[in-house]
């Protein structure tokens, strides 16, 4: 006879992509790269969700160009997500996109109980609307303040300042401090921290960051990740996992002499 037909109680984990679809995303095949990177990251996210029975991972996506709108409006179980290509064209209504997200993070429609949401903002440019108003609306929502907010800066024209405002202050490194100057082992190599905009200068790096967000970060937000001791461990809504190696620093030097 089978074990009683019961399962571990779970909470929803809302994962929201907030995607820049402005005209500049047409350059260098960025839009295609982003579509591919998200599509490729979904099986990994589904697997991470499977290994985390206490999390029900639900995916949504917002696109923004001249206006912001929902690309995937219904919170969709990750294994059911079919990614339709985003199209680029227009300006950068990032503020409006944040307003849309803010409305969804209000309770209701947010459930009474959930895991910290994960918001991933991907942009290659500067907002052309009232970003500050959008961010203010967003940060008025307790669920947004408790969310894991990540930002990926595509190319060299991305406004890393507004992306940093979206993430919030990087509490680990006051302005001007040289990483490692405190004598502590830095959690992340020179200049790279998940609490900063992640620079994706090419398709491979973009794909790696999205893969990381959809697997390691989903794992951390739903606890299966082992907790490592370190300066970053007790900050933020969840301890953020190490960043993946990228093209620029393919695999960080395992034995640095100094930093």
């Amino acid at each position: 006879m089978p074990f009683p037909d019961v399962r571990l109680a779970s909470r929803p984990l809302h994962f929201l992509y907030i995607c820049d679809c402005s005209g500049s995303m047409q350059a260098d095949g960025r839009m295609q790269s982003l579509n591919q990177a998200i599509r490729q990251s979904l099986p990994g996210m589904a697997e991470a969700a499977r290994q985390n029975p206490e999390a029900r991972v639900l995916v949504r996506a917002v696109r923004f160009a001249d206006r912001a709108g929902w690309h995937i409006a219904t919170p969709t179980p990750v294994e059911q997500v079919r990614w339709n290509d985003l199209q680029a064209g227009g300006v950068t209504a990032m503020g409006e996109a944040l307003e849309l997200v803010a409305a969804e993070l209000r309770s209701p429609p947010m459930e009474a109980r959930a895991l910290p949401p994960v918001l991933v903002l991907i942009s290659d440019g500067q907002p052309t609307d009232d970003f500050d108003a959008g961010l203010r609306s967003l940060m008025r929502e307790p669920w947004a303040r408790r969310a894991v907010r990540l930002a990926i800066a595509i190319g060299h024209d991305a406004d890393t300042e507004v992306l940093q405002q979206f993430i919030g202050e990087d509490p680990g490194l006051p302005a001007g401090e040289v990483p490692g100057a405190s004598g502590q082992m830095p959690r992340h190599p020179l200049g790279r921290s998940p609490r900063r905009p992640l620079p994706a200068s090419n398709a491979t790096t973009l794909a790696r960051y999205l893969q990381w967000a959809s697997t390691a970060v989903v794992g951390a937000a739903s606890t299966t990740a082992s907790r490592l001791g370190g300066a970053d461990d007790n900050r933020g809504p969840v301890p953020l996992p190490d960043l993946p190696p990228t093209e620029l620093d393919p695999l960080e030097d395992p034995d640095p002499i100094k930093w």
Binding site: A9, T224, S226, P250
Partner: protein
């Protein structure tokens, strides 16, 4: 995920006589990636570390070398077999990844699935199988601690089980450390970490392993988290501060006999309410002790030997409801008589086969082990001596099937003597003395068939 090592290729390593055939990447995480490999035709697994992780875990190489030197505590561990560093030829191909290292370990057999599959209710598994897996888990940690090691990161993610047999495999043994050495980067996983570790007051060690083991046992046996009750529902966003409150600052066991603040919610925590009453008090008490006084006093946590003993005894008395076929466990004497937990109809009293060490309820599938016949032996479920089977055509008649080893010499009360060969079954319908290789076994008169 981008692969650290080239796949579907042959690589050579220092000190490894034969080249290693590297197959596909089986998975990866924040520490590194695991590959299916083959060494001289033998399928194995290779874990290769991310250099960023190596930089954070300075003691890793020493720990792995010590684990490899001492060998696996038992076969249930996917234990490191050899530390691998690329030789010059491979290093040139591997780039920066070639400056790091990895280790070889046994490959997880295909029948074994992640314990999360069980917790999520995605596999068909019996109560007996779950109890067996729980026993093997306790036995694994018993052997590990006896070897002088602690594990440090017990969680659902590091355990695999065979839904057919209840066999287990324990993975991610690279945090395993010599007891008391206080190294290593890992602190544990939320939901399994002992409060003193979560609060930063202690480093993971044997005492925290015992806490984590109990949390994992609870999840295996109930498909529920021991601290998620009413107090969890009061936390809208289960973020880091929320987890710290629930698991470290003010942890309250959902079935704490004295503190009832954190009882399971009848809608949100159904699993706990259905499964907990299935278990006899001897098991429930171990959880109550570990998650009660043991929260703050590590010396009060149930020991691996106590888990082994309690789980083995619970398995000795499993029986099926004659009305609905459901698996039922022993229950403390109840003036109204025992009832099936599913159909609520009365369970008729089952005969008990008294043995030198304890006894086994005469019910199909229950097994006799060497520890039943020799009180000096520790509980071990891996080499059963006999199994209770029903006669194929005579209802109510049970026998003991010989599960291997030398023939049993049987002396019946009427003076008849005969042999029972492995695979044959000796009737429990008549009083007799069985000489098994593991010790004598007396079938008493009280077992005469109805």
């Amino acid at each position: 995920m981008a692969s650290l090592l080239p796949t579907d290729t042959v690589l050579t390593f220092e000190g490894l006589a034969a080249p290693l055939q590297v197959g596909h990447c089986l998975g990866g995480g924040s520490q590194g990636q695991v590959y299916a490999v083959e060494l001289e035709g033998e399928p194995l697994a290779l874990k290769w570390y991310l250099p960023s992780f190596l930089a954070r875990d300075a003691g890793l190489q020493t720990r792995l070398e010590e684990s490899i030197r001492r060998g696996a505590p038992n076969d249930d561990f996917l234990w490191p077999l050899a530390l691998l560093r690329p030789d010059d030829a491979s290093r040139a191909r591997l780039g920066v990844a070639g400056r790091g290292f990895g280790y070889l370990m046994p490959l997880r057999p295909p029948a074994y699935v992640g314990a999360a599959e069980h917790a999520a209710g995605r596999i068909a598994i019996s109560l007996r199988t779950v109890l067996r897996a729980a026993f093997f888990l306790a036995a694994g940690f018993h052997d590990l601690h006896s070897f002088g090691f602690c594990y440090k990161d017990v969680s659902l993610g590091n355990l695999f089980l065979d839904p057919g047999s209840g066999g287990i495999r324990i993975g991610d043994n690279d945090n395993v450390d010599v007891i008391g050495s206080d190294g290593g980067a890992v602190l544990g996983t939320w939901g399994f970490m002992a409060p003193e570790v979560a609060l930063g007051q202690a480093r993971p060690d044997v005492a925290s392993d015992l806490f984590s083991l109990a949390a994992l046992q609870f999840q295996l046996l109930t498909r529920h988290d021991p601290f998620r009750g009413a107090l969890e529902l009061a936390i809208p966003c289960l973020d880091l501060p929320g987890r710290r409150r629930l698991y470290a600052e003010d942890p309250v066991f959902v079935f704490d006999p004295r503190d009832t603040r954190n009882r399971p919610d009848p809608h949100e925590h159904v699993a706990a309410l259905i499964t907990w009453p299935l278990y006899p008090r001897r098991l429930q008490r171990l959880f109550e002790e570990t998650f009660g006084p043991g929260l703050h006093d590590p010396s009060r946590r149930a020991l691996t030997g106590q888990w082994k003993q309690a789980l083995a005894v619970v398995l000795d008395h499993l029986r099926l409801c004659p009305h609905c076929g459901e698996e039922n466990l022993e229950h403390d004497p109840d003036p109204g008589g025992a009832r099936c937990w599913r159909c609520r109809r009365p369970l008729p009293p089952a005969p008990l086969l008294k043995l030198a060490n304890g006894g086994v309820t005469v019910a199909e599938g229950n097994q006799i082990h060497a520890h039943h016949l020799d009180p000096l032996r520790a509980e071990d479920l891996r080499r059963p001596v006999a199994e209770v089977v029903a006669h194929p055509s005579r209802p109510g008649l049970f026998g003991l099937r010989h599960l291997g080893g030398a023939p049993w010499q049987v002396e019946r009360a009427d003076g008849r003597r005969f042999e029972v060969l492995p695979g044959e079954t000796c009737s429990l319908g008549r009083a007799a003395l069985l000489h098994t290789g593991a010790g004598p076994l007396r079938i008493g008169d009280h077992l005469l068939r109805p």
